[in-house]
């Protein structure tokens, strides 16, 4: 339960980080969203056996984390949460793809292991980029930008409400679990007899709570159309930021920088 509580607090930490006023935070939400999407697309476009070419891309999250004053630990913890997913997506590659591609002494490296590594690095990079986007922009600004870019309003409202109600649901979970723990003599887990009623209670309480929040919104003029205020972006720095990263991404994609650097240092440059 303590673990659950700390995760819930983390969820809010991400929102609080988004309230900072670093140079990254002050960029327009559209710019950051565009850059993140470009980054994800570039990463996804690498071939499935590419590993070395991906290495310079690590530069992007590192720069953003540093300039945006984001705690590494928090992002790492989030990555750990999705680590099993990453593992399962690439798990079967080494089993199916047994074509040897390299040999380090007696150790033969198959194509499967290379693609497994490549998928892992890609997923880690893209998920980190998405986390950084939320931690430097905030879900509200992202949604208003999505709406401005022509994403249908019902979809944007769904994302916003889902994000809002995660908190509501978790709060109810914590309260219910606490009430259960305080009155259960054994403190390890929840007896299977109680699961049904606990989940039922949770559902009903969450619905009731969500309804009250919805009523509060109705009372303040909400009519199904959320009016998302957008801040005017400062044109020049935003453009520079976007163009700069786009250039860097293209460079990473078109030139295998580590290989080029290696050849350059070892004097093999033509």
């Amino acid at each position: 339960m303590v673990k659950l509580e700390s995760n819930w607090l983390d969820l809010r930490t991400l929102d609080e980080l988004a309230l900072q006023k670093t140079p990254i935070h002050q960029l327009g939400a559209g710019t950051k969203l565009g850059t993140t999407l470009a980054f994800i697309m570039v990463i996804a476009s690498f071939s499935r056996y590419e590993v070395t070419g991906l290495i310079p891309c690590v530069f992007y999250p590192i720069v953003l984390i540093t300039l945006g004053r984001l705690p590494y630990q928090l992002l790492l913890k989030r990555l750990l949460l999705v680590a099993p997913v990453i593992l399962f997506i690439g798990l079967f590659n080494p089993l199916f793809d047994r074509v040897p591609v390299a040999a380090v002494g007696p150790l033969v490296v198959t194509g499967g292991w290379i693609s497994f590594l490549s998928i892992s690095v890609k997923l880690i990079l893209t998920i980190t980029a998405a986390l950084i986007l939320i931690a430097t922009t905030g879900i509200h600004a992202i949604c208003s930008t999505l709406y401005r870019l022509g994403v249908p309003q019902p979809l944007v409202v769904q994302i916003l409400f889902m994000y809002r109600y995660i908190h509501v649901l978790l709060e109810e979970v914590l309260k219910t679990l606490q009430a259960y723990q305080l009155r259960s003599c054994h403190n390890s887990g929840i007896g299977y007899q109680a699961w049904g009623s606990l989940l039922g209670q949770l559902l009903l309480r969450t619905i009731a709570r969500a309804q009250r929040i919805y009523q509060a919104m109705l009372c303040r003029g909400y009519d199904g159309h959320i009016i998302l205020e957008t801040t005017a972006a400062r044109k020049k720095p935003d453009l520079l930021y976007f163009a700069g990263w786009l250039l860097f991404f293209s460079l990473c994609r078109l030139v295998n920088l580590p290989q080029w650097l290696g050849t350059f240092i070892t004097g093999g440059l033509p």
Binding site: D15, H140, L218, R220, E229
Partner: protein
Amino acid sequence: MSHHTLDITDLSYTYPDGTAALSALSLHIGHGESVAIVGANGSGKTTLLSHLNGVLLPTAGTVNIGGFPVTKQTLPQIRRTVGMVFQNPDDQLFMPTVYEDVAFGPVNMGLPSTDVKARVTAALTTVGALELSDRPPYRLSGGQKRAVAIATVLAMEPAILVMDEPTAALDPWARRQLIELLRTFTHTKIIATHDLDMALDLCERTIVLANGSILKDGPTAEVFRNLPLLAQAHLEQPFSLQNCPLCSKSMGNNTL
């Protein structure tokens, strides 16, 4: 001004599960009045308040706000006129920051952003919470949350202010601050509460509810002196009208 008045005629409401919460209730509240609605748990206070801005619509009877009946068609107009402060401020605060939360209503009213800003600043200043603008609402203390919840409603400049248990879960200092704040409002105020001392402090008129109908409607001081009535409604006299417990104890000792 007529839009500050409220007329309820033969209002009845039965919940979908068959519970009759209000039965043939009628009342009139005039411009600028400050009215307390008191009664035992389950007497129908919250159900009554829910009718004042159309969260619930009557099973029978009518509710008129400023001459307009509360119906689905008039809801947008009604909700501008009646500002509702919920019992639990956590239900009322749903945006990422205090500022955005207070701005939610004015933005939905379609006001230009300069007006929105002016209203948010004015509302937060009134409740003394301007310095909380950039804070996320869930980080605030109970008293601060209550103040911000009131600001969210004030920013819409309602003619009638409806509050459900505004002093619940506040510490004595925060409660006193809130009472002083509410005293400065010239709105028509309708306050459902168990805090009878606050009712005595703020409201010149009190309506006692019991089993979904009006048991007594009269001047607060008069209602709270009527001990049989209070007992019948499962209430007791406000502490400020009771004898000092220390004095009465010592008096008791003297007689012994």
